[in-house]
């Protein structure tokens, strides 16, 4: 790695982006080191300053020496803490940036490994720069600040349906599996210590304590590695769910053994108390989380007037849940998960679209930064931490952990498969076993051990070794193994309305069959829970009319909104993004001889309450405005023609666009609410919109505009191009000031721009003969604009497709 980190030894010019990234990394690492050295240097200076301060006031009475007013001074101490924290966060984020600039590296090595290596380097630097050990991975800081964002992110976006379906399996792995691991590793290590040649003298209880620390699968590490391998949903939720739920077991075991390793013995009574404590810890954590979750949902019911602070409620209530649980020594992780999972369906029904986006982005951002920081700190702590290396102990630990995991998973699967409908195959078992990574939680628990505990250093060394082994070896090899074993990957299929309909249909069908059999099975209870939820809970927690919205309709509206936004963002320039390109439209489906239904004199039922309609309009409008603004800025850079003339043209453009917006928005909302009579039925008009042909929205009076008029303001759009739909514009109709053209915006803007790009005097705009040669430029510019408009966001859109409740 060192050789790659010295590109500046060449010419000093970063020739390409990856090298620039590496350069940036190096600079920052050096900066970090030097600042800390400076910090170390200045703190004694300020200390001496403080000491000298006391006698000073006495002196000033005697000799008022006038010293010059300090124009520029340096005082590091009072910003030390926030400065260092910010510097760390900055470092972490820049690392993340850097890795993605080097695609080859990030394909082979998972991010977590790279981050640990960076942490190692930084740790070395710090060690060289300072004498004293910085408290970098303070356990307090870790458990209170770094861990909660990751867990909240996981809990809020937890896919509830697969989680609940596999809950039994997950619990078995989490509870029984962890117990097995702890006792197996602890017991065998103790047996090992009995051998005199080993040179170790560790009692049974400390061994078991160590076993309980090292046995827990770590959610942070699992998330970091599994996210990159895109494995199928079942395996992902099994390993991930296990890593989340084993927190309770770990806590109880850890506390139990730590408490009693001082004393030296554990009685049966203590064992029983431990079991009771486990239930209290686990269920208490979940209860706390659920209470706070409901509180958050209830609060969000009233936030319709203060949309800005909606995300805050989610974050603060969840964090409070975590802290409250930690206060009572209950499982904070389970509290967080419960809070996030419980609150999500109700909050999402109440908050605005923007708040939803905000929550999503903030959670992803915080969890990403946290994760990065955790791994870097692991690296730093490795360099710093007190170590005592014992070959036998360490190797025995690593081997025993692996063996215990394999045996545990195998045995448990054998039992579990008797109760599962979808059995776990050997391949699945292998991946589950291999995915049992240890991480920072284990290290922090070890760090928390009493400093006077004699075995602490050996334990820490062994823990770090196991963590490194799992993260590096297992983390790096799991991806090729997944490919090799041809494990089923995550299906990228978009959730379709048909699947949703059939999922619901099946739910009811299976419930019905169970009722006929008289068998109170899963579906029966799930159905009862759903009905209870709909009848009481939703009414209580969801504001307004949305409490009555059936799930299917909610799903449908969500999909339509999404498609509307997609349509806007693609500028209507291409067909509606659909799974398969097809020319099927509504007219193919409606039977021809259907009698025209009587035109409704008014809207039948307000399906879409006013507020939602407004929201959709607002979204469309703001998206269009954003588009327009981007196009404007693009324009400004490329303007070469007379600015006045272009400004005038822009004004004309604006006017023309305004007309179309209102019409388009009307069409849009029409198709989202009551379908107009047969002809203008929503999906049909949408289909026509997409296909771009036979557009009926050319009102009769605009047909006149078809001729090549001398009016420079009449844009004659080129006919029948698949890239851009045809819209005729009539300037005469009034328009509303804040409306923007929906379709053909890119087209028009392209044309407007091109006058600027191509350095000829701005020709008459009505010339349609020029369109031919500009086709190529059109396409290129459209692509550029598509890039402007695209916003991949933090992650896959699939979490948006989750239904509110399973």
């Amino acid at each position: 790695m060192f050789s790659r980190m010295a590109p500046h030894s060449r010419t000093g010019f970063a020739r390409s982006v990856p090298e620039l990234g590496l350069l940036l990394l190096t600079i920052l690492v050096l900066l970090e080191g030097s600042v800390l050295r400076l910090g170390a240097a200045s703190s004694p200076a300020t200390q001496s300053h403080g000491a000298a301060d006391c006698p000073k006031p006495v002196e000033t009475h005697h000799n008022k020496t006038k010293k010059a007013f300090p124009v520029l001074s340096f005082e590091y101490d009072h910003v030390k803490m926030p400065f260092e924290i910010s510097l760390w966060v900055l470092l972490a984020s820049l690392m993340k940036l850097g890795f993605h600039l080097i695609p080859r590296l990030s394909n082979i090595v998972p991010e977590s490994c790279l981050l640990i290596v960076v942490g190692l380097l930084v740790g070395c630097l710090i060690k060289l720069a300072r004498e004293d050990v910085p408290p970098v991975l303070d356990s307090q800081f870790f458990f209170l600040c770094l861990l909660p964002p990751i867990i909240l992110d996981a809990g809020y976006f937890l896919p509830i349906r697969p989680f609940m379906e596999n809950l039994g399996t997950i619990l078995m792995f989490a509870v029984v599996g962890t117990l097995w691991n702890a006792f197996f590793v602890g017991g065998l290590l103790f047996a090992l210590c009995q051998i005199p040649q080993a040179g170790l003298d560790i009692g049974l209880l400390p061994c078991l304590l160590f076993g309980s620390i090292i046995s827990a699968v770590d959610p942070v590490a699992v998330l970091a590695v599994f996210e990159e391998i895109h494995i199928n949903e079942l395996l992902h939720i099994l390993v991930f769910g296990e890593s989340l739920l084993n927190d309770a077991v770990t806590l109880v075991l850890y506390n139990l053994f730590e408490e009693f390793s001082e004393v030296g013995s554990v009685t049966v009574l203590d064992g029983i108390l431990g079991v009771i404590s486990f239930f209290i810890v686990a269920l208490g954590g979940v209860l706390f989380g659920a209470i706070y979750g409901f509180l958050a949902a209830f609060t969000s019911r009233f936030t319709s007037h203060t949309r800005v602070i909606e995300p805050l409620f989610v974050f603060v209530y969840s964090y409070m849940a975590y802290l409250s649980a930690e206060m009572f020594h209950l499982s904070g992780i389970m509290a967080l998960i419960a809070c996030g999972a419980v609150t999500r369906p109700y909050i999402e029904a109440n908050i605005s679209h923007k708040s939803h986006t905000t929550i999503k982005y903030f959670l992803k951002m915080w969890s990403s930064v946290s994760e990065t920081l955790i791994f870097i700190f692991l690296g730093v702590a490795t360099v710093e931490g007190p170590h005592r290396w014992n070959w036998i102990f360490v190797t025995a630990t690593v081997i025993l952990c692996l063996v215990a995991r394999v045996i545990g998973v195998g045995g448990l699967t054998y039992v579990i498969n008797k109760f599962r409908i979808v059995k776990l195959t050997t391949k699945d078992q292998f991946i589950i076993a291999y995915g049992g990574l240890r991480g920072a939680i284990a290290f922090s628990l070890g760090f928390l051990l009493n400093k006077s505990f004699e075995m602490r250093e050996i334990f820490l060394t062994a823990i770090i070794t196991v963590i490194f082994f799992t993260v590096f070896v297992q983390g790096m090899t799991i991806k090729p193994l997944v490919e090799l074993l041809a494990v089923k990957k995550k299906q990228e299929a978009k959730r379709s309305i048909n699947e949703e309909i059939h999922t619901q249909f099946l739910d009811h069908l299976l419930t019905g069959i169970e009722d006929i059999c008289g068998h109170y099975g899963h579906h029966h209870w799930k159905d009862k829970l759903n009905r209870f939820n709909k009848k009481y809970v939703k009414k209580f927690l969801i504001a307004g009319e949305r409490s009555k919205e059936p799930q299917l309709i909610a799903f449908y509206h969500k999909m339509e909104m999404k498609q509307a936004i997609q349509l806007v963002e693609s500028g209507g320039g291409s067909k509606l993004p659909s799974a398969m390109p097809s020319t099927v439209s509504m007219q193919n489906i409606q039977p021809k001889h259907q009698p025209a239904p009587p035109k409704p004199t008014e809207r039948a039922l307000p399906q879409l309450p006013k507020s939602r309609e407004e929201e959709i309009r607002k979204i469309l409008r703001t998206n269009l405005q954003r588009t327009r603004q981007r196009l404007h800025s693009y324009n400004r850079h490329t303007l070469v023609a007379d600015p006045d003339e272009n400004a005038f043209k822009d004004l004309i453009l604006k006017k023309q666009k305004m007309i179309e917006l209102d019409r388009k928005i009307k069409e849009m909302t029409m198709y989202l609410t009551v379908p107009a009579p047969h002809q203008g039925s929503p999906t049909m008009s949408r289909a026509r919109l997409a296909s771009g042909r036979n557009t009926d929205f050319i009102p009769a009076q605009q047909q006149k505009g078809n001729k090549k008029s001398s009016d420079p303001q009449a844009y004659n759009i080129k006919p029948a191009s698949d890239a851009m739909p045809i819209i005729q514009v009539d300037l005469a109709s009034p328009q509303s000031p804040d409306s923007v053209n929906l379709l053909d915006e890119i087209g028009k803007a392209d044309r407007g721009e091109e006058q600027g790009l191509i350095m000829k005097p701005p020709p008459g705009l009505s010339g349609s003969d020029q369109h031919g040669e500009k086709e190529k430029d059109d396409w290129r510019d459209q692509q550029k604009l598509m890039r402007c408009l695209s916003d991949p966001g933090p992650g896959a859109e699939e979490d948006e497709d989750e239904p509110f409740l399973p």
Binding site: I501, H502, F505, L509, C517, M559, N588, P591, T683
Partner: protein
């Protein structure tokens, strides 16, 4: 267990077991339930189904009840409906919900999938013509939404329309504007729900049948 006293001879069970794939215990338990539902008669009628209280709150109870009397579900070439069914037909319909056994060849698995999807298809295709028309699909969606209170017919229509459009796009792909898509045939239905994992989703655990509540 005590259920074997009031049951047909085990020889019959052999036939049934072979035909439907249930084990002897499961058949015995289901027989008990059958007797309970039919008030100790030999045949079940529609009104027996309407006596089940839990079923009353189910939005698609009509379809479920019909499915039991649909001859297409009894054998491959059946057609039409009957008024009453015996225990054998009851078992055959129930066998559609058996969970897949672990040791099956791919072909067997595929057959099981087709069978289950066929059952679903028959439930949707109420007029027996082999295709699910737009009207039938609309009816399905309306039933699903019927429990929500306000009968939002128009929204149901547009949902069904959108769904139909999707099926057509997936199955047929390119259609001229004046062509007409008749309806979802069984092949299209298969294609539509290809990724749905129906064999695991459409299963009931017939394991713990001893916990049957007998109070109805």
């Amino acid at each position: 267990m005590g259920t074997l006293q009031s049951s047909p001879a085990p020889a019959e069970y052999c036939d049934l077991s072979e035909k439907t794939g249930f084990s002897f215990e499961q058949i015995a338990v289901l027989h008990k339930r059958f007797k309970q539902l039919s008030h100790d008669e030999d045949v079940l009628r529609r009104d027996h189904f309407s006596e089940i209280p839990d079923l009353a709150s189910n939005p698609i109870r009509a379809e479920i009840t019909e499915a039991f009397f649909d001859q297409r579900n009894f054998s491959k070439n059946g057609k039409g409906k009957v008024e009453e069914i015996g225990f054998e037909e009851f078992l055959v319909v129930m066998s559609h919900f058996r969970p897949p056994s672990q040791h099956m060849t791919n072909e067997q698995r595929e057959n099981v999938r087709k069978e289950k999807l066929r059952f679903l298809f028959n439930m949707h295709d109420t007029d027996n013509d082999g295709t699910i028309t737009l009207e039938e699909y609309r009816h399905v969606v309306e039933e699903l939404l019927s429990r929500s209170g306000a009968l939002e017919i128009e929204t149901a229509k547009s949902i069904a329309d959108a769904a139909m459009l999707e099926v057509a796009s997936i199955s047929v792909g390119h259609m001229e504007p004046d062509e007409f898509y008749e309806g979802i045939t069984f092949d299209h239905f298969l294609k539509l729900l290809a990724g749905f994992e129906i064999d695991s989703k459409m299963s009931i655990r017939f394991l713990n049948m001893d916990t049957i509540t007998l109070c109805k």
